[in-house]
C-alpha cells in the first residue's frame, strides 16, 4: 500500500497527478473548440492575409524609398545632381504662330520625372520656361521636354534648350545647415552615456549648438554590437562634424548626414577609413 506523504508539496503534486475531471469535460471542451474555431477562422484568415499583404507592401514601399535615398549617391561626388533647363519658346516661327497657352505648357511639363521647380516668364514676347531637375541626366531630360511640349506648342516653333548644371560639393559651406546626423561606430568604444557626454562636449568645443543626441546600442546576436548615435545640430558643416568626431575620439566607421537644404533632404555617406566594403549596405 502506498504511504501518503507528509510533505504538503508532494501531496499537492500527487493530487494534481490524480486530478479527476468533471463529467462531460471533454465534450464541453470540444464543443467550445468547434464553436470558437468556426467563429474565428474566417476572421483570422482575413486578418492574417491582410497583415501579410500589408507587411509586404510596407517593405516594398520602404525599400523603394530608403534604398535609392540612402545608397544612390556616392560619397564625395556631389551633394546633388541638380540642373536647370531654360526652354525658349519663341513667338512666331517659320509660319505665323501665336503664343501657346501658357497654362497648357506648365501642365505638359509637370509630369516629367525629377522636376522640382517650374517658372514660366514672358520675355520680349517669347516664353521662357525655366525648370530645375534633381537626379536626372540632361541627355535624358531633353527629349522628354520636347515630347511633352510637342502637343502644346506650334509645330513650327523653335524650342531651344539651355542647361546649367548645379553641383554642390560635399563639405565646406555647402553644408551650411546640417539638421540631422547619424554616426555608426563599431564594437569598441565607451558606454552610451560616456559617448553622449563626449559628443556633447566635442560639439560645444566647435561652437555648435547640439539640439539632440540619442545613443543606442544594439546587440546583433552574433556577438557584434552596433551603436547608433543620432545627432541633431544647427550650423554644422562636414568639416566641423569631422572635427567633432576627432574630438570625441571614437572609432567611427561611417557617417550619414541627412541635411535639409533648399527644402530637400539629401543623404551623404562617408567612410572614415576609405574602405567602402567595411559597411555593407
Amino acid at each position: 500500500m502506498e504511504q501518503e506523504s507528509y510533505n504538503p508539496v508532494d501531496r499537492g503534486l500527487k493530487q494534481l497527478a490524480d486530478e479527476e475531471l468533471k463529467p462531460f469535460h471533454y465534450e464541453r471542451m470540444m464543443a467550445g473548440v468547434r464553436s470558437k474555431n468556426e467563429r474565428i477562422s474566417p476572421i483570422m484568415n482575413i486578418t492574417r492575409k491582410t497583415a501579410l499583404i500589408s507587411v509586404a507592401f510596407a517593405v516594398i514601399v520602404l525599400a523603394m524609398v530608403l534604398i535609392p535615398a540612402t545608397y544612390s549617391m556616392k560619397v564625395g561626388d556631389l551633394v546633388t545632381a541638380e540642373f536647370a533647363v531654360d526652354v525658349n519658346i519663341p513667338k512666331g516661327g517659320a509660319s505665323p504662330a501665336v503664343m501657346p497657352d501658357l497654362d497648357n505648357v506648365m501642365k505638359a511639363v509637370e509630369g516629367i520625372e525629377g522636376v522640382v521647380n517650374r517658372n514660366l516668364n514672358i520675355n520680349n514676347g517669347n516664353a521662357e520656361l525655366v525648370m530645375t531637375f534633381v537626379d536626372r541626366d540632361i541627355k535624358d531630360v531633353e527629349p522628354e521636354i520636347r515630347a511633352a511640349l510637342a502637343g502644346v506648342v506650334d509645330k513650327n516653333a523653335t524650342i531651344s534648350l539651355r542647361s546649367e548644371e548645379i553641383t554642390k560639393p560635399v563639405g565646406g559651406n555647402a553644408l551650411a545647415a546640417v539638421t540631422n546626423g547619424r554616426v555608426c561606430i563599431g564594437v569598441e568604444g565607451p558606454t552610451d552615456e560616456e559617448l553622449e557626454n563626449t559628443l556633447r562636449a566635442a560639439f560645444a568645443s566647435q561652437g555648435l549648438q547640439l539640439t539632440e543626441v540619442d545613443v543606442k546600442t544594439e546587440h546583433m546576436g552574433d556577438g557584434e554590437i552596433r551603436r547608433e548615435i543620432r545627432i541633431g545640430a544647427v550650423g554644422a558643416d562636414e568639416g566641423a562634424l569631422e572635427d567633432c568626431e576627432g574630438a570625441a575620439g571614437v572609432a567611427l566607421e561611417a557617417i550619414e548626414i541627412n541635411m535639409d537644404q533648399d527644402g530637400q533632404v539629401r543623404i551623404i555617406k562617408k567612410y572614415i577609413d576609405g574602405d567602402d566594403e567595411k559597411i555593407s549596405p
Binding site: P8, L13, L16, A17, E19
Partner: protein
C-alpha cells in the same frame, strides 16, 4: 486515426498539464481550448501520430507563452489588472491549488519539467526529450525546481497565514 481519437487517449494528461502551467483550473481550461484550436488547424501537418501527445504539449506550452506575453502587455498598458496577485477570498482549502500557484512562480523551464515528471508521470528521458536537454540536465532542472517549488509553496502558505484566509487567485 483522427484528431479526436488521438486527443481522447491523452486528454487527462493535457488537461493536467494545461492547468499546472496556467496556475489554475479555469485558466488552464481556457489555455487548453486556445491550444486545441491551434492544434486542430495544424493537425494535417503532423507527420507522426505516435508523437501526438508530445506535439500537443508543445503547442500548449507555446500558447501559454503567447498568452503570458499578451497578459504582460495588457498589464503594462494598464488594460488589465495584475492576474497573479493573490487575493484573500475564502475558499475551501486544497493543497493542489496552492501547489499549482506555487508552480506558477517557478521559471518556465523548471515548471514544465516538474509538471511533466510529477504530474504527467513522464520518465527523465521523456522530460529531457520534450525539453531538448540531456538526461542529467533534466535531473538537475528537476532538483532545482523542487527546491524552488517548496520555497514558493512556503511563501504562499505564510501569506495565507498572515491574511487569516485562503490564498486563491482571482478570476
Amino acid at each position: 486515426m483522427d484528431f479526436e481519437q488521438l486527443l481522447k487517449a491523452c486528454y487527462n494528461d493535457v488537461v493536467r498539464y494545461s492547468r499546472a502551467m496556467a496556475g489554475s483550473a479555469v485558466d488552464g481550461d481556457d489555455l487548453l481550448q486556445d491550444a486545441l484550436i491551434r492544434a486542430w488547424k495544424g493537425f494535417p501537418r503532423l507527420n507522426d501520430p505516435d508523437r501526438f501527445k508530445f506535439w500537443l504539449l508543445k503547442i500548449i506550452k507555446n500558447t501559454h507563452f503567447s498568452r503570458s506575453r499578451l497578459q504582460w502587455a495588457k498589464r503594462m498598458f494598464g488594460l488589465e489588472a495584475a492576474g497573479d496577485l493573490p487575493s484573500t477570498d475564502v475558499l475551501p482549502y486544497e493543497e493542489k491549488e496552492l501547489v499549482r500557484m506555487a508552480l506558477k512562480r517557478l521559471p518556465e523551464a523548471q515548471r514544465e519539467a516538474l509538471i511533466l515528471f510529477e504530474v504527467l508521470n513522464m520518465s527523465i528521458a521523456e522530460v529531457a526529450m520534450q525539453q531538448k536537454i540531456t538526461n542529467s540536465a533534466a535531473k538537475s532542472r528537476l532538483a532545482r525546481g523542487r527546491i524552488k517549488l517548496r520555497e514558493a509553496y512556503q511563501a504562499l502558505s505564510n501569506m495565507e497565514a498572515r491574511h487569516g484566509a485562503r490564498v486563491v487567485q482571482p478570476g
